[in-house]
C-alpha cells in the first residue's frame, strides 16, 4: 500500500517546491522554488533532509491533510494556526504523526507562508530536474502540470517504523514576522539613470505591499519614483531585482519572476530580505535601505554555510 499525505482541503494556495529549476533561464524558464527559502531550509534541516528536498508550501492557510502513513514531520515559516487532531501546534519544530492524524492549517496569525516537510521528503515527479510548482509556466507540481494541490491529491512519502527525535529551533533563530521590515537593496542595473530625488524618495518613504503581489513579484505602493527616459531593451532579471514601470511604483521580482524584464531597475534586494518579504501579508509597510555588495555577499555566505548550501 502507498503511504503519504492525503489532501482533505487544498486551502487558498498550497504547492510543492524544492530547490527550483536551475540552468534554463536562457530558454525563458523561471527557476521557481520556495518563496521563503530560509523557512524551507529549516523545515528540511529539522528532519535531517538534504537541502532542497521536496516539501509543501502553504500560502495564507486553509489547508488540511490526513496522514496515511507514520513519519516525522516538520512545520516552519508562518504561524497559520496549525492543529493536529484539533490540538493547537506551534511551528518551527518536528514531531511524530500517525496513520489517521489530521493536520489542519487555519488562517495566518504571524507570517504568511508555512512549510511542511517529512523525513526523507515527498516522492514527486520532476520536470527539468525539479518539482517546483510554477503556475504560469505549467511546470512542476504533483502532476507535473504546474497546478496547486487539489482535494484528494495524495503526496507519497515513506512510512517510518521508528519514531525519531522531535526537534525545535532555538529561539535565537526564530524570525519575527511582525517586526518592521527594511529591504536591503544592492544598488545596480540602471541605478545611475534614476535621479537623486528619486533615490531620496525611495529611502525616505514607506511602501505598502499590495494584494496583487505573488511569488512572481511583490508589488509596492508609495510615493512614485520618476523613471529614466528612453526605451530599455529587455534584459535578464535576477532574484530580488526592483523594477520601476511607468507608474513609478516599484516591483520586487521574486522566485517565479519572468526571466527577462524591460523596465528600468534600481538594483536588487538581498535574498534574505526577499524571504522575509514573502512572510508579510498584503498591507504591510516596508522600507528600503542600501547595502553594499560586499556586506550583502557576506550575509549570504553566512546563510548558505549555515544550511550547507
Amino acid at each position: 500500500m502507498k503511504t503519504g499525505l492525503l489532501v482533505i482541503k487544498p486551502g487558498i494556495h498550497a504547492v510543492v517546491q524544492d530547490q527550483g529549476r536551475n540552468g534554463y533561464q536562457h530558454l525563458g524558464v523561471t527557476p521557481g522554488g520556495p518563496a521563503d527559502a530560509m523557512a524551507a531550509n529549516w523545515a528540511n534541516r529539522l528532519l535531517g533532509n538534504a537541502p532542497g528536498t521536496a516539501l509543501i508550501e502553504i500560502t495564507a492557510g486553509g489547508t488540511e491533510f490526513e496522514c496515511q502513513t507514520q513519519s516525522m514531520i516538520s512545520i516552519t515559516g508562518g504561524d497559520l494556526n496549525l492543529t493536529l487532531n484539533g490540538k493547537p501546534q506551534i511551528p518551527w519544530r518536528s514531531f511524530w504523526v500517525r496513520q489517521g492524524d489530521r493536520l489542519k492549517f487555519g488562517y495566518p496569525r504571524h507570517g504568511f507562508r508555512a512549510y511542511v516537510s517529512v523525513q526523507g521528503g515527498f516522492q514527486l515527479p520532476q520536470t527539468l530536474g525539479s518539482c517546483a510548482t510554477v503556475l504560469r509556466d505549467g511546470l512542476g507540481g504533483l502532476h507535473g502540470d504546474g497546478e496547486r494541490l487539489r482535494k484528494h491529491d495524495f503526496l507519497p512519502c515513506a512510512h517510518l517504523t521508528e519514531e525519531g527525535i522531535a526537534r525545535q529551533i532555538p529561539e535565537l533563530y526564530l524570525p519575527d514576522y511582525n517586526a518592521p521590515l527594511s529591504l536591503q537593496l544592492i544598488p545596480g542595473y540602471q541605478q545611475h539613470q534614476f535621479s537623486k530625488a528619486s533615490w531620496q524618495t525611495l529611502w525616505d518613504n514607506e511602501y505598502e505591499l499590495l494584494p496583487e503581489s505573488d511569488s512572481m513579484g511583490a508589488r509596492l505602493s508609495g510615493p512614485a519614483l520618476s523613471i529614466p527616459e528612453g526605451n530599455l531593451l529587455s534584459e535578464g532579471v535576477c532574484y530580488g531585482a526592483v523594477q520601476v514601470p511607468g507608474n513609478g511604483q516599484p516591483i520586487v521580482l521574486l522566485q517565479q519572476r519572468q526571466t527577462l524584464g524591460g523596465y528600468p531597475k534600481l538594483g536588487a534586494i538581498l535574498p534574505l530580505s526577499g524571504y522575509e518579504l514573502a512572510q508579510r501579508a498584503p498591507g504591510t509597510k516596508v522600507r528600503f535601505q542600501p547595502i553594499n555588495i560586499t556586506n550583502a555577499q557576506q550575509q549570504m555566505r553566512r546563510y548558505l554555510r549555515f544550511f550547507g548550501l
Binding site: Q25, G28, L139, Y189, C238, T259
Partner: protein, 239 residues
C-alpha cells in the same frame, strides 16, 4: 559595427550584467550566444547561468568562488576570444515556421495593413520574406523575441490586452514580432497562427529539443493555408 566591449554593472548579490554596446546589430545575438557558451565551458563551478538578451548577458556566478573584479576579467577574456565580425553565412540555424496569416487566426492583420497603408497580401509578403533573428528568449518558456521586422509593419500594442491569446499566435508589438508558445493574456497584434511547438518540457521523452530555436538562430515564416495549418496542428497534437 565595431566589436562592442562589455561594460559591467551589478545586478544582484550573485549576478552581474554585461552590456555590449547600446544598440542592436544582427551579429550581436549570435556573438552573445558564443560568449555565453564559452563562459559556461571555461568557468564551471564559478559561473552558474548566463542569460542573453538583445545587447546584454546576465551572468549568475558563485560569489564564494570568485571576486567581482576577477569575474569581470573572465567575461572580458571570453568576449575577446570570440571572433568579430561573425561570419553570418553559417551563424545560427535557420528554422522555417509554417504560418496561416489572417482570418480568425490573425484578427489584427487588417489593422496592421491599415496603418501600413498596404494590402493584407503585401503585409504577408513583407512579413514572410524576412529572415528574423532570435534576439532573446524569455517572458515565458520558449518565447522568442525576433528582430528584423520590416519598419512598415511596426504597429503599437493593443490598447486593451486580450485576456486570452491562443497558443501559437503570431503577433506584432512595436518593432517586435513573436509567437506565443502558450495561451495567455497579451496585447500584441495577432496576424496569424503558427504550427510549431516552442517549448518541450520533457526533452528526454521526445525527439525535439526543449526549444526549437536559441538566441542567435534565424526564423523564417512560411505562409500556408488554413487546411495545411490545421493538418499540421493535428499532427503535432498526436505526437
Amino acid at each position: 559595427m565595431k566589436k562592442p566591449l562589455p561594460e559591467f554593472s551589478i545586478a544582484g548579490v550573485d549576478a552581474i550584467l554585461a552590456q555590449f554596446g547600446d544598440r542592436m546589430d544582427e551579429q550581436l545575438p549570435f556573438y552573445l550566444a558564443k560568449v555565453r557558451e564559452r563562459l559556461l565551458d571555461k568557468y564551471k563551478g564559478i559561473i552558474r547561468e548566463v542569460v542573453p538578451a538583445y545587447t546584454t548577458l546576465l551572468v549568475y556566478y558563485e560569489p564564494r568562488a570568485i571576486r567581482l573584479y576577477d569575474l569581470e576579467q573572465c567575461v572580458e577574456q571570453a568576449a575577446a576570444e570570440v571572433a568579430w565580425p561573425i561570419s553570418m553565412s553559417n551563424a545560427g540555424k535557420l528554422v522555417e515556421v509554417p504560418v496561416c496569416y489572417g482570418g480568425d487566426f490573425g484578427p489584427e492583420l487588417t489593422r496592421v495593413a491599415a496603418q501600413a497603408k498596404l494590402s493584407e497580401a503585401q503585409v504577408i509578403e513583407l512579413h514572410s520574406e524576412v529572415e528574423y533573428q532570435v534576439a532573446a528568449l524569455g517572458f515565458a518558456p520558449g518565447f522568442a523575441y525576433l528582430s528584423g521586422l520590416h519598419e512598415k509593419l511596426i504597429t503599437p500594442r493593443l490598447e486593451t490586452p486580450r485576456k486570452k491569446v491562443p497558443a501559437g499566435s503570431l503577433g506584432i508589438a512595436g518593432a517586435q514580432t513573436a509567437v506565443y508558445p502558450f495561451a495567455g493574456p497579451g496585447g500584441w497584434n495577432l496576424i496569424g497562427r503558427a504550427a510549431m511547438r516552442w517549448f518541450n518540457p520533457r526533452p528526454e521523452l521526445a525527439s525535439d529539443a526543449m526549444t526549437p530555436v536559441e538566441v542567435g538562430d534565424r526564423v523564417r515564416f512560411k505562409p500556408v493555408s488554413a487546411e495545411t495549418l490545421n493538418a499540421l496542428l493535428r499532427c503535432s497534437e498526436e505526437n
